[in-house]
């Protein structure tokens, strides 16, 4: 195999042949993608909360059971937990350098995001369908 003499890749890297597989920026891209989605969804979320101010329990449930409000809230939760998991992952990778602690923190981060997300999604769906 002809090698570009200017290449900075080591011989081992060339033999292994593992490149980025075009996935190197996927986390960066997902952070932006969810971020873009979260701008209107955050406005919608705050709008829903504000519309509930001063309302009693049953009225609040009725507001959330509205399909538009529920779908916007579900999308807000989904985009939000994905966005925050990536964000916290970057923070962990920046500040925790001990390998064991770093992996433990990354696992805890993933579990926390999924747990929070699913509990919140379940609660919204329960309000909608009961």
């Amino acid at each position: 195999m002809a090698r570009n003499p200017q290449s900075m890749r080591s011989s081992l890297a060339v033999v292994r042949g593992l490149g980025s597989a075009r996935s190197g920026t996927s986390e960066f891209w997902h952070q932006r993608l969810t971020g873009i989605a979260l701008v209107p969804l955050t406005i919608a979320f705050v709008w829903i909360i504000v519309s509930m101010i001063g309302k009693d329990y049953n009225t609040m449930r009725r507001i959330l059971a509205n399909p538009l409000a529920a779908i916007l809230l579900l999308l807000f939760i989904l985009s939000g937990i994905h966005h925050m998991q990536i964000g916290m992952r970057v923070i962990i990778e920046d500040y925790i350098h001990r390998e064991g602690a770093k992996i433990a923190a990354l696992i805890a981060n993933a579990f926390f995001a999924v747990l929070v997300g699913f509990v919140a999604l379940f609660a919204v769906l329960k309000i909608c369908f009961s």
């Binding site: 932006r32 955050t42 101010i53 001063g54 609040m60 925050m84 609660a123 309000i127």
Partner: protein, 137 residues
């Protein structure tokens, strides 16, 4: 620069460290970069409040009453105000980063303006929402 001994016992000069935050003069862009990360981390913790609210609402009126009493207390209000500000601050900070991502607003003084604008917008929208909240209460 202090000298350190490498594994073999040879005396080496310490590797130069990249300059950390403490060696720079404080700038607005720097402070706002840190604030973006801090508000992000705060919102991460704040999702617990969101979950409490939704679960209480999904459970029954009694569970919601417990949540409502907490959020209506002084501490609850302060946390909710902080949550609102962190949300909007982080949102406008994100928009600022989108502008930078496409290569706009990176020059001086555009970057200073856009940073100051995102700070003011976050505060203004927070205060506006709370004024609306108190008016329709």
């Amino acid at each position: 620069m202090t000298d350190v001994k490498a594994n073999g016992g040879t005396l080496l000069r310490a590797r130069p460290l990249s300059p950390h935050l403490s060696v720079y003069r404080w700038t607005l862009t720097m402070a706002m970069s840190i604030a973006h990360r801090l508000t992000g981390a705060a919102l991460y913790a704040g999702t617990l409040l969101l979950v409490w609210w939704l679960v209480a609402l999904a459970t029954d009126a009694g569970a919601y009453e417990t949540f409502a009493r907490f959020i209506g207390s002084i501490l609850g209000r302060v946390i909710l105000f902080g949550f609102t500000w962190a949300l909007f601050h982080h949102m406008f900070g994100g928009i600022r980063h989108f502008v930078w991502d496409v290569g706009r607003g990176l020059d001086h003084p555009a970057r200073e303006w856009i940073t100051a604008l995102s700070l003011v917008a976050g505060l203004a929208l927070t205060i506006l929402v709370w004024i609306i909240a108190f008016l329709i209460r």
